[in-house]
Symmetry: D2
Subunit: 135 residues, 4 copies
């Protein structure tokens, strides 16, 4: 049962003409958080397949502005299938305000054959062991 | 009843390390299609408020690769509320393959007060007149 | 003697908080133009190595704004070395205004060994044949 | 005499198809470093005009790869004019390897009139006081 908390620095180039972090960039923050979580898992010696996103839902709650303090992305696994898993994300501004909630379906992927793969056993076991229920 | 068809050229910088258009970039394609549709509407003299995305769902169906031919984003309005509307999008590869489906909730926004606004009457009327039911 | 003229559509996401195409994005336009020129050359059956940028200079002359009409990047080869060549670029707004001038040193690159390579003979011959002197 | 050292985290989205930080992204790192230096200066109560880049030169020396450790951008002022100044940058990989050298001409800018401005006196004084000679 693991909630990862990933800090990500904003960049000036994340802003759009309204002076907000553009909504598309939230997807980049979520991707970056997933990559960093996977890096941690791989560092524990767990076999990590290539992965692609099959579905993503984002609820935008509060705008984010440029700020020297990082945002925080909370990431946890909500369910595990045969070749996919569901990751939930919450993006917080540096003052703790909830800025967005997201749900991402991630699929293990064979980049040569360009098709989905069963999750490797050790990775699936890791995911099942880290399952988190957040109401 | 209007389905807009927006052509968008891919860029090399849309690709990630797997050689696919990165999943985050699909959000950029959808944003770009919305901006271009709004430009058409504004060109008809319809009052256009600032707009922000309140929710977005994307289903990723097939990967997109670099190709000199543009992708096509089909965009239409599925429902209209008081201060928001729902836009549906389909992203097609240049050979007609459906690459992604999306649903976006767009909210009229006051950039000074940073809060939602009622849709201006002429824009709301336009949206209602362009409603499209695609099964 | 060849000047390639490449049209590139602007995107909303190219803009920064000032409402200009951000200066970093000019580099993306130049890269995109080079990729498209190389695609043309490859389509003529000429062997094309992987290439990296060794040096780039950009003079920013006039700001670019969002506009439905594409910018135009003129691209030509100014000199050819053993493993590198110099490409010059001019970026024009859709009304013909010169927005930027650039000079890029491009090096043939072995992505496995991560070091420079001699230009393949047929590509070098092509580059020499396309040399352009623009005062 | 001040050399600012700015740490910037890499993102997965900084990589291109070759698995390198794309050369265009170096421009983003340099911009981000400048923004952060300016934030420090503004925090000292010094009047800061809007600024645009008039010229930039980048020498690419070594490729950067994805790494959990940040890059370091060293930034200093090399000369000061009436409405512009020259900033030099060096980008280092986390192991201290020099990855790129850059020189950027920055101009004070009136975003309403869209033309250059004299540097405000207090900012010009600050720039002159921070001049750095690095051979």
């Amino acid at each position: 049962m693991t909630i990862h908390r990933i800090q990500i620095d904003r960049r000036f180039s994340d802003l759009d003409q309204l002076g907000h972090v553009n909504n598309v960039v939230y997807g980049d923050y979520i991707q970056e958080a997933r990559i960093r979580v996977n890096r941690r898992v791989r560092a524990e010696g767990i076999e990590m397949p290539a992965q692609v996103v099959a579905r993503q839902e984002i609820d935008y709650i509060r705008p984010l502005h440029l700020n020297p303090e990082p945002i925080v992305v909370e990431v946890w696994v909500a369910s595990v299938g045969n070749s996919s898993y569901v990751q939930l994300q919450r993006i917080y501004d540096n003052d703790g305000t909830l800025a967005a909630k997201a749900r991402t379906v991630v699929v293990a992927f064979d980049p040569i054959a360009e098709k989905s793969l069963p999750l490797p056993a050790s990775f699936r076991e890791y995911l099942l062991g880290s399952l988190e229920v957040v109401e």
